[in-house]
């Protein structure tokens, strides 16, 4: 399936970038891992095409803190680009396993993680058991967001 990522992000914006790297300098993901970095992502989209970028697992390293957006002198909505790329990546099956796992869990239980003996722990601290998660509502949202194309649930 081909996805038009430029439907969600105006491609013209990319040409505003002159690679000053203020974004990468502000990127917390770059601090801890060899992420693509916002500048690298834009350059790769321009030079190699986004097809190559969405194959790369590194598009998932962005933590959407939006600092690159704030500091970009050209006011390019970089985090919008990253979200659009990840949408595209997901639809091509490029989703990290752990992320898929928690998505599946979310769809099934309404929560992204299961904590062992949670209710016992809560009781130990004098807290009432957690109310049931609104699974149907969560599933409706996930459906609306098009998650069915990525995941069976």
């Amino acid at each position: 399936m081909t996805i038009k990522i430029w439907k969600f992000f105006d491609r013209e914006e990319l040409y505003e970038c002159y690679q000053c790297a203020r974004c990468t300098g502000s990127c917390p993901a770059m601090e801890v891992t060899a992420a693509l970095g916002p500048r690298g992502t834009i350059l790769k989209c321009l030079n190699l095409g986004h097809e190559a970028v969405v194959q790369d697992e590194k598009v998932w390293f962005c933590c959407t803190c939006n600092v690159c957006d704030d500091r970009c002198p050209q006011q390019i909505p970089i985090s919008d680009l990253l979200v659009a790329l990840r949408n595209s990546a997901a639809r091509r099956g490029n989703v990290p396993g752990r992320l898929l796992l928690s998505l599946e869990l979310l769809a099934k239980t309404g929560r992204t993680m299961i904590v062992h003996q949670l209710d016992e722990m809560r009781a130990h601290h004098g807290l009432a058991p957690l109310p049931p998660a609104p699974v149907d509502e969560v599933r409706a949202i996930l459906k609306r967001a098009g998650l069915e194309e990525v995941l069976d649930f």
């Binding site: 505003e16 690679q19 000053c20 790297a21 203020r22 300098g25 502000s26 970095g37 002198p73 050209q74």
Partner: protein, 816 residues
């Protein structure tokens, strides 16, 4: 619509008209597409035409001789040349007419090359028919042409230079040396400007004040220059050759007998940040801006003086002054100065990086700007030329420069500030020269070393060990204990992140238009570009002229530039002003507006739309009148008059109406009538021709000087005559050659749209388009779109709309 509602102009009787038509082949340029002989034969049959010829090159010497000979032999009283654009050869043919004794304003041109043969290359029949139409339009307009004499106005042989930076000083000296009296108006206490603040200049590494100070003192003692410091222009009246400028000269409180002995300084109890040292040091309440200041007279800052407002709380400086030159009774004065020309050299402000919080300027003491650095490293600066960092006054061992701060950014200034790259390289070399062990890193995006000797300097900096890293830090972190700074970023060439710690960071800040540049813009009717700098009359061929006659620009007020370019431009501006003043008079093209005093009701609407304040008068006088010397001939006032009292010479109502009627004489419902302004849209259509961009042939273009001349009555007339569509096109809103007169165009077209909607007429048939002289493709696109829209409209609908408009117009004219 009946003829009676149109202003009447004397039209020569048909048998009085003796029009000669010349259809040019232009080699194969026109005749390759248009059958020129057929067009000439057609022209022969038009009313008033006594002779029509076609020639291979009408602009050639034999071609011109032919016209001259015919004027004499056949007693021609109008000449129509169908050839290229009037923007090219109108002066040629006007000169030919004049030399044969025919008034040059009796020439009319039909543009059958750029607007016809070149854009309809593949349809000879249609192109020939269009050429016939264009010739018929020109012939009908020619019948209404009247001889004109160009008015001359005298030019006063005095000049004013506003701004006493290096550009202003240079312009003033050039004009003064040429023998003119010059008023040099400077806002601060001394001339010198930004250049006086800078330590060294690039690429030669000259000492800045050493080369500037001689010029400053020359300007100070020049017999032809009257120096007005602490002075500001507050009002400008008049026009080219005769400006009356109001100048507010603020009180200095120290007389010119001051010998700048500085005895007063030590006794003054009041302190303030020293502006000249970028706030890095303090000065007293009585002070001189800097040691080399011209005039070398002290001044009192009344904002902090204890003796303010006549309350004598302190007179220590008065007591200390042995020459008794302190005068607390000094008052602001208002001067009215009459000058013939004005040079604007108001310079620039420096970008304040405080708003870029991630860089910590203003929060971390060791982050400074390049201007502050210039003062720090200058021997006359606060540290006497020692490089120290503000937090502990120790010499920094590791220095980082950050480029493009406040430039090339939509968050601040979108343009490149032009000087910062070379300034940083120069500063880096200065540090290396004095303290070679200093580690210097320059974080840049692109190094723009474009000028003479710039690349050499860049290479030298690299050889001397300055490190250049491509990638601006995203963030600066301060170490609270040591005040050292850590830069986080990415080396984009290596593709690796860096985290480097330095002792001091210098932000290479950009430059921006003066904060209050709008004031002078309003007073002098200047135009500004999208960045806020004053705009030149033409970016290539009139780089120091402004859109206001007699006013010139120099230096960075026109756009970011270095010292050399500022001086070059200042000399150019002075020379342009000199040309006007040495001639002593100036000819105004006879395209000005004129008001019929009998019809004028003194409502004042015209004066309100005039972009040049050229219309004066009032209710008391009972009428308004146009000052011909100030009128630039845009014609924006003409459609504004509800009483038909105004008309524009050489672009009269009756001339244009003739053109409209001729254009729509046959098959009007298939045609697009286009009004194009001389400077942008007509030139854009010309450009489409030069680029051979093909577009539908049913468009007929009528030229006006400004789109604001286009009267709603013309649009109405076109539609009542059954025109399929009408295009009104002008310069892009900020680029209007007549000081945004085209905002009137937009207003009038919008009003016409509303009228169309009210009458149930398809408003898409009237289009407003902004097309610049470079947008030939855009012009072609607009015409193609309009043609496509026209295809969907049935002739019956056009006829119906024409009737509705006609009825409504008649109802209106009956009411009045």
């Amino acid at each position: 619509m009946s003829e009676k509602t149109l202003p009447k102009a004397p039209r020569p009787q048909m048998n009085d008209l003796r029009i000669g038509v010349y259809v040019c082949h232009c080699g194969k340029n026109i005749s390759g597409t248009v059958r020129c002989e057929e067009v000439a034969r057609y022209a022969q049959g038009l009313p008033g035409v006594v002779l029509a010829r076609d020639s291979l090159y009408t602009c050639s010497e034999p071609g011109q001789e032919q016209i001259k000979g015919d004027i004499k032999a056949h007693d021609l009283n109008r000449v129509v040349v169908a050839s290229c654009t009037p923007r090219l050869h109108e002066p040629t043919f006007r000169a030919a007419c004049e030399s044969a004794g025919l008034n040059p304003y009796l020439l009319e041109m039909a543009n059958i090359r750029e607007h016809c043969s070149w854009v309809h290359l593949h349809d000879k029949d249609a192109a020939t028919e269009k050429a016939k139409d264009l010739v018929a339009m020109a012939v009908s307009r020619a019948g209404r042409l009247a001889p004109q004499t160009e008015v001359t106005v005298s030019v006063m042989r005095k000049a004013m230079v506003i701004g006493g930076g290096v550009a202003g000083i240079q312009a003033a000296l050039d004009l003064a040396d040429a023998g003119y009296k010059v008023y040099l108006v400077e806002r601060s206490g001394s001339i010198g400007g930004r250049m006086a603040q800078i330590d060294k200049t690039f690429p030669t590494m000259d000492c800045s004040i050493c080369i500037l100070a001689p010029k400053m003192s020359e300007a100070g003692r020049h017999p032809n220059i009257e120096l007005l410091t602490l002075s500001e222009v507050t009002g400008v009246q008049g026009h080219i050759g005769n400006f009356h400028v109001r100048v507010l000269k603020k009180a200095r409180y120290v007389t010119s007998e001051c010998t700048s002995c500085a005895d007063c300084i030590s006794v003054c109890p009041q302190l303030a940040p020293d502006e000249f040292n970028a706030g890095l040091s303090i000065r007293r309440g009585i002070y001189i801006p800097f040691a080399q200041a011209v005039p070398s007279t002290f001044m009192i800052d009344m904002n902090i003086c204890l003796n303010n407002q006549g309350i004598v709380a302190c007179d220590r400086c008065f007591q200390a002054c042995s020459k008794k030159c302190i005068d607390f009774a000094d008052r602001d004065q208002e001067l009215i100065l009459d000058v013939g020309t004005i040079v604007v050299a108001t310079g620039v402000d420096v970008y304040d990086p405080t708003s870029l919080t991630e860089l910590g300027y203003g929060k971390f003491p060791n982050v400074i700007t390049t201007l502050e650095f210039e003062r720090l490293i200058n021997a006359g600066g606060p540290s006497s030329g020692e490089l120290i960092r503000p937090s502990d006054r120790e010499r920094p061992k590791r220095v980082a420069f950050l480029q493009c701060i406040g430039s090339r950014s939509k968050r601040s200034n979108p343009y490149c500030s032009n000087v910062c790259c070379m300034n940083t390289i120069k500063d880096a070399l200065l540090i290396k020269e004095h303290w070679p062990d200093t580690e210097i890193t320059v974080y840049y995006v692109d190094i723009r070393a474009f000028g003479k000797g710039f690349e050499d300097l860049f290479q030298r900096a690299r050889r001397e060990g300055v490190t250049f890293i491509r990638g601006i830090p995203g963030e600066i972190i301060e170490d609270l204990a040591t005040d050292d700074l850590t830069l986080l970023g990415e080396n984009t060439l290596l593709g690796t992140p860096y985290r480097s710690t330095v002792d001091m960071v210098i932000l290479s800040v950009g430059i921006k238009p003066r904060q209050d540049s709008e004031l002078l813009q309003r007073l002098l009717n200047l135009a500004t570009d999208t960045d806020g700098f004053y705009m030149e009359a033409h970016p290539k061929l009139k780089p120091v002229d402004t859109t206001t006659g007699g006013v010139f620009i120099a230096g960075a007020a026109e756009g970011p530039k270095d010292i050399k370019d500022s001086v070059t431009q200042a000399s150019a501006a002075a020379s342009r002003a000199n040309i006007l003043m040495s001639k002593g008079e100036v000819k105004i093209p006879a395209i000005t507006a004129g008001i019929d005093p009998d019809k004028c009701t003194a409502c004042g609407l015209c004066a309100r739309v005039c972009p040049y304040h050229a219309i004066v008068g009032g209710k008391e006088e009972g009428l308004y009148r146009v000052i011909a010397a100030a009128c630039q001939g845009c014609g924006a006032c003409v459609p504004e008059c509800r009483f038909g009292a105004i008309d524009q010479t050489h672009f009269t109502e009756s001339q244009i109406v003739e053109q409209i009627d001729a254009a729509l004489a046959g098959d009007p419902h298939k045609k697009i009538l286009a009004f194009a302004c001389n400077w942008c849209s007509y030139a854009g259509a010309d450009f489409a021709g030069v680029s051979r961009i093909q577009y539908p042939h049913n468009v007929r273009i009528i030229r006006t000087m400004c789109s604001a001349r286009v009267s709603p009555a013309w649009i109405e007339r076109a539609f009542t005559k059954g025109a399929g569509a009408v295009l009104v096109s002008g310069c892009h809103p900020a680029d209007c050659h007549y000081n945004n007169a085209n905002q009137n165009t937009a207003r009038r077209v919008e009003r016409f749209w509303r009228r169309m909607e009210k009458l149930g007429i398809n408003r898409d048939r009237l289009r407003l388009a902004w097309i610049s002289a470079a947008e030939g493709a855009q012009f072609a696109k607009v015409i193609r779109e309009m043609e496509a829209g026209l295809k969907t409209i049935k002739p019956a609908e056009i006829e119906n709309a024409a009737k509705k408009l006609f009825r409504e117009a008649n109802k209106k004219s009956d009411a009045t």
